[in-house]
Amino acid sequence: MNLSHFWILIASLFLGQLLLLLILAWRKQQSNKREAAINSQYDALTDSFSSYMMDPSDERFIEELKASPYQLVVLERLLNHYVSVTKAGADSPPVSRLSEEFLSTRYVRLLKRGNWAMRMNTLYFIEDFRMESLVPQLKEKLAKSSRLDQETQQLIRTLASLNETVAIEALAKHPDAPARLYIDVFKRLDELTKLDELNAALNEENDNQTLKHSAISYIGMAGMTLFLPRIEEELQHPEMEMRIQALKAILHLQYMNSPSALAPFFQSAAWPERMFAAQIAGKLQLSRYKETLGELLGDPVWWVRYSSAEALTQFSEGDIVLTHFAESHPDRYARDMANQWKTSLLGSEQ
């Protein structure tokens, strides 16, 4: 290869780049123009859209929308903004009506198209706009998917948002499905379906432990005190992970029918159990455990010491107890921890 070959190579690479540059610049210009036009139509339609959402008999918006060259994109943005600001969707008939009328055909097409990002966006929007007419297409898509990849996960969430329990059945087919996905599904189901599914999940014994963990965890997060007796039963469960989930749920629920059930956990060999027991004793202000909390201040595990001191701050005379421990606890680390929390209490009072 001699110099001229290199010249030709470099020159052709340069010309190739120059061509690509021109194409990209043209594309950028077009896309900027299009974006500006969409933004201007969005602004122009905002008023009539707001009127329509307040009074759907006002058809002015529909007429203006039909006249818009970018009607689908503009409508999608308007609806998306509306549901994210008002947190509506499920309860908004105008959102359902508009999305079903204008967007469903486009979404059916997009769900089948090759572009992954567009399919994902479509699944997000179907969920946000609660487009029930697309359930058959979504179920068909779910039946075809064998891997629990990002798209299938979102598909399951979207179906759950449309109150389809097939979402849980689909997850159960994947033994490695994470608890967070089950929780996402519970969150989206409507109240009655949710109660049935949580009941069924709590009755699971050995088949699907992840489902049961998730149900307990969700009950705590959602503050469903209705299930408290069932959760308290789980404190006796032979499996530690189940007991920890139950303790966590009780901490969130902030109530216990029988606080004495907590006693064995302060002596548990597993530090997370001691830690949650301390947190619950504080949150529920169970003064019978105050002395035990003082002992746990000297626990070998930092998190248990931290939680015990934090728990003591919850009691009305917490500052006095902590001052006492800060000065006279036999354990040096316990004194440090009590001192730290005592100061934070002073700070919060100021």
Binding site: N2, F6, K28, A117, R180, Y306, S344, S348
Partner: protein, 465 residues
């Protein structure tokens, strides 16, 4: 002499062609992933996490040394971050200016006793302060021990299972942390580190600690650094991350699993490249444990940082980076070409040695031969000509391609004029900017054997307007 020069010329030409092709190969690997996610509605994909109690809480660590100009705006931008549960810990590493004072005044901080767990030994912690307005903002005032030592002190004080390390002069986009944590949450902890893109803020309009308008700076030195960042982040890191062999997560912005970092021994105080060194050590730990956990680079979360505008500061920064790279490769030389470390030992380490580190030496020889060939008949002018063209290809055309690739995938700069300016400046790289970099990087290799660690000494103007 001419014989030696000729052989050297062939070696350098072959090297440059090989490196250029490796860049193109790496980009081809990364292109699919960037293109795949390009049209994804980022807001939709993260909004669920905002209300989600399954997210892991994060401690944000801001090491600061003489950052009185930028530290408050950085903390303010962190306050605005959309994330369900976080704490912010600023570590003043013995600053000589009013870094601590600015924090104490602005956030009404009070000294508190704190039962710190010493996971990692650090220089003496003099005091810990807590904000009385935002109790989750804390300040550690400690004796000077370097950036790595400051980060270790932050790790000790942090309460949460993940920490985000961010430079004291940087601004993180509102949803940056959420986007960085998303893969960690979605992988159920299988991803232990995520690094986001770092972009240069000079030229953009930043107000109320938020990037309002993305723009380009006037200074060619800064423009060239923007092109360089494209080249490094888009061509290099994405592909290496795709193969789980990424060795660098920028010190300016990364999220780490705290337990893993403590297991690895924390940041190394004896190197100036503590960010890279930690990542290599984590890889080493994972490979030795035969763990399937991963380290990932995420192109979208953006952290904006102030780039040096003067040649003097840029020089010192590049010397430091090169030293950091060499020190890390030397400290972990056991991994080099060692099959026990899989693709890290067999591909990534040699890649960083031959392309990232020794590239400067090869290029230096290349410039020497071009000069010697054209003016002193060191080699046949025909060979010097080929060398010149290959240098232009390696230096300018690859960088110009990086600009085009950015536009093809992320297109963060909004105007057509931005694209044009970046492209044409990128073409000039081989003629002035690259020779300077090569010179400083070679100087960095020499400096490794001479100096001890210190913080970068950039004089900040502050990026918030």
């Amino acid at each position: 002499m001419q014989e030696v020069a000729l052989i050297l010329s062939y070696i350098v030409i072959a090297y440059m062609l090989f490196s250029s092709l490796s860049y193109l190969g790496l980009f081809a690997l990364a292109y699919g992933k960037v293109k795949k996610e390009n049209k994804l509605d980022k807001r939709e994909s993260t909004e669920d996490f905002l209300r989600n109690q399954s997210t892991y809480p994060v401690s944000i660590l801001v090491p600061a040394y003489n950052e009185e100009v930028g530290v408050v705006s950085t903390v303010r931008s962190l306050l605005a971050l959309e994330y369900p549960e976080k704490e912010i810990i600023v570590i003043d590493d013995g600053s000589k200016d009013s870094t601590s004072l600015r924090m104490i005044e602005e956030f009404k901080m009070k000294k508190i006793p704190f039962a710190v767990r010493t996971h990692i030994e650090t220089a003496e912690v003099e005091a810990i302060y807590q904000s009385s307005i935002f109790p989750y903002i804390r300040l550690i005032k400690k004796a000077n021990g370097g950036k790595a030592d400051a980060l270790n002190a932050g790790v000790n004080l942090s309460s949460f299972p993940y920490f985000c390390a961010i430079d004291g002069d940087s601004i993180l986009e509102n949803d940056g942390l959420l986007k960085c944590m998303k893969p960690i949450i979605e992988s159920d902890g299988q991803i232990i580190v995520t690094g986001g893109s770092v972009r240069i803020a000079n030229g953009s309009t930043i107000s109320r600690s938020k990037v309002e308008i993305v723009g380009l700076p006037k200074s060619p030195i800064v423009l060239m650094q923007i092109v360089e960042y494209f080249r490094a982040f888009l061509i290099g890191r994405l592909a290496l991350s795709h193969l789980n062999i990424l060795l660098i997560v920028s010190g300016a912005f990364g999220v780490f699993n705290k337990e893993r970092v403590i297991q690895a021994g924390g940041y190394n105080k004896n190197t100036v490249g503590e960010d890279m060194e930690l990542v290599v050590r984590l890889h080493r730990l994972l490979r030795e444990e035969k763990s399937k956990q991963r380290i990932e680079y995420i192109p979208d979360p953006v952290c904006w940082t102030e780039a040096p505008e003067s040649l003097e500061v840029l020089r010192s920064q590049r010397i430091r980076w090169q030293r950091g790279l060499l020190e890390t490769l030397w400290n972990h030389r056991k991994m080099m070409l060692n099959p026990k470390y899989g693709s890290i030992g067999l591909f990534s380490m040699p890649y960083f040695l031959f392309v990232e580190l020794l590239g400067a030496v090869f290029e230096f020889i290349g410039y020497f031969i071009i000069f010697g060939g054209f003016f002193f008949s060191l080699v046949d002018p025909q060979v010097a000509g080929v060398m010149f063209l290959v240098t232009v290809f390696y230096g300018s055309l690859i960088s110009a391609l990086a600009v085009l690739l950015e536009e093809l995938t992320l297109h963060k700069y909004p105007k057509v004029s931005h694209l044009m300016r970046l492209y044409f400046w990128a073409l000039t790289e081989a003629f002035w900017y690259r020779p300077l970099m090569v010179l400083w990087r070679v100087r960095g290799i020499i400096a490794t054997f001479q100096k001890k660690a210190h913080w970068g000494d950039m004089k900040r103007k502050g990026i918030s307007t």
